[in-house]
């Protein structure tokens, strides 16, 4: 069961702390918003980055990040 890093886009304001704390997974898009380096919209968080990812979640000033397991269903629940 992979963990994925998910962004609540209605909260994110491109404050950029996550980019500093998780440069392995994230980079800035043209407008400063976190962009997954892997090409997936929601990058999977490998075990060795777990602690850093959790730190990014806690440190986000907008509480816009979340880590949750991948249910394995592509596009699950998209309205």
């Amino acid at each position: 069961m992979t963990d994925r890093l998910r962004v609540d886009w209605t909260r994110c304001r491109a404050r950029g702390l996550c980019l500093e704390l998780l440069p392995e997974l994230l980079t800035a898009d043209d407008w400063g918003y976190p962009l997954s380096r892997s090409g997936e919209t929601e990058p999977s968080v490998p075990r060795w980055l777990s602690a850093h990812a959790e730190r990014a979640v806690v440190e986000c000033p907008r509480l816009a990040l979340r880590i949750s397991p991948d249910p394995g269903e592509p596009g699950a629940g998209r309205p």
């Binding site: 962004v7 886009w9 209605t10 909260r11 043209d30 998209r78």
Partner: protein, 400 residues
């Protein structure tokens, strides 16, 4: 009870101006238990008619197990190229409300809302007043924005808040209106429910495809002789759909299938015979969606048409999510340049790059849908890009 006229006049034949006439035409709503309703819906194979095509029985099941559920009938129809919900609410509002009552029964809901365009509100309020449903329906006025009809925007509207999408999870069926499990269904889906409950799943499945049975409402517009709302069995061909609307008015080059978040399908002898189904249209990244078809004539430039639509979509973003808020206007500007300026290879590459930045990065499907249209345009109208680069245009109009 009058026999419904022809197989493809189901919803549209249920037109009734009053509750009395409605009951006279279709009979009273049968009293069926919630569990029976869910069984009937599952057997019928009804899928959502709001665009996503999700199996209705699964949506019902997701909400039915929970307490204090809410039903929201979504008739907001923010899509400019779609009029089917409006027509349905004008012609057969009682059938829609029957469907709401059935959904209430199926989910054990204690509250119900009808979310409909502002200008229909007074009429619909009268319609609601004629009824004596166990769970009264509250009318919510929808504004005319594109995004107002989105599922979580509908939930927000039912709460009395601005109709903008919310992040999911939690999904509405878990936590929707005021934190309660909420079923959001398109008004056409609910109208179909109102018929299934009377005539049964076998009747429903008698027309249409096995995967998505029944009839569907189509809004056909553009270069056709009689643009309007029509009803057809699911799986009917694109050509049949245009014939319903009086046939093509002039030479058609492509169809916009699925609305502004859909895709272009070139109009050729091969494609005209394609059924309006997800699988048949998959090569074009198109889907029936909410049954929207717009015929683009040869005298109109496909690039310009797309640029106009994307400019509209860019202006319709809710302003909540950075990639969408920034990316869509950027794409709109780029497409405008593509259509009216000088389409360099660099520009085409940039459009693809920005589209990739925007795709899937937002709280709702607005950025994704817009990107679908943009990518489709680059594929289907690639020849036009070449022509524009040579200073010409297939539509015969100057590009600069």
């Amino acid at each position: 009870m009058t026999e419904l006229r022809t197989p493809t006049q189901r919803l549209l034949a249920a037109a009734a101006s009053s509750y009395g006439r409605h009951v006279q035409l279709l009979g009273p709503l049968p009293d069926v238990s919630g569990e029976r309703v869910r069984q009937l819906v599952q057997d019928s194979g009804l899928t959502g008619r709001g665009g996503a095509g999700f199996p209705t029985s699964r949506k019902l099941a997701a909400v039915a197990g929970r307490r204090r559920a809410v039903v929201v009938a979504n008739g907001a129809e923010g899509e400019p190229a779609s009029s089917k919900d409006r027509v349905l609410l004008l012609r057969a509002p009682h059938l829609v409300l029957d469907g709401v009552a059935v959904a209430v029964r199926a989910t054990g809901a204690t509250e119900a809302f009808l979310y409909a365009p502002d200008d229909l509100a007074d009429r619909l309020q009268d319609v609601i007043r004629q009824r004596a449903d166990p769970v009264g329906v509250t009318l919510i006025r929808a504004d005319s924005s594109f995004i107002a009809g989105q599922e979580t925007a509908a939930v927000a509207a039912a709460e009395g808040r601005p109709a903008v999408p919310r992040s999911v999870p939690p999904m509405p069926f878990v936590s929707g209106v005021r934190g309660r499990p909420t079923l959001v269904n398109n008004v056409e889906t609910l109208a179909q429910l109102g018929l299934i409950i009377r005539y049964g799943p076998d009747w429903f499945r008698a027309i249409g495809t096995a995967d998505e049975p029944g009839s569907r409402l189509l809004t056909v517009s553009g270069a056709v002789f009689r643009p309007g709302v029509y009803e057809a069995p699911t799986g009917d061909t694109l050509a049949a759909a245009l014939r319903l609307a009086g046939g093509a008015a002039g030479s058609v080059q492509a169809l916009l299938v699925g609305g502004y978040h859909g895709a272009w399908v070139p109009w050729l002898p091969d494609t005209a015979g394609l059924p309006l189904t997800r699988s048949a249209l998959a090569p074009y990244d198109a889907a029936p969606g909410a049954g929207i078809l717009v015929a683009l004539p040869r005298r109109r430039c496909g690039l310009l048409a797309t640029a106009e639509i994307v400019a509209y979509l860019a202006g319709q973003n809710a302003g909540q999510c950075g990639p969408c808020r920034n990316g869509l206007p950027t794409l709109a500007g780029q497409l405008w340049e593509l259509a009216t300026g000088w389409p360099t290879t660099g520009l085409v590459r940039e459009i693809s790059r920005v589209a990739g930045l925007v795709d899937g990065r937002g709280a709702c499907a607005h950025p994704t849908g817009t990107v679908r249209l943009v990518r489709s345009c680059l594929r289907i109208f690639s020849a036009d890009v070449e022509l524009h680069r040579a200073g010409r245009c297939a539509a015969g109009r100057g590009t600069r």
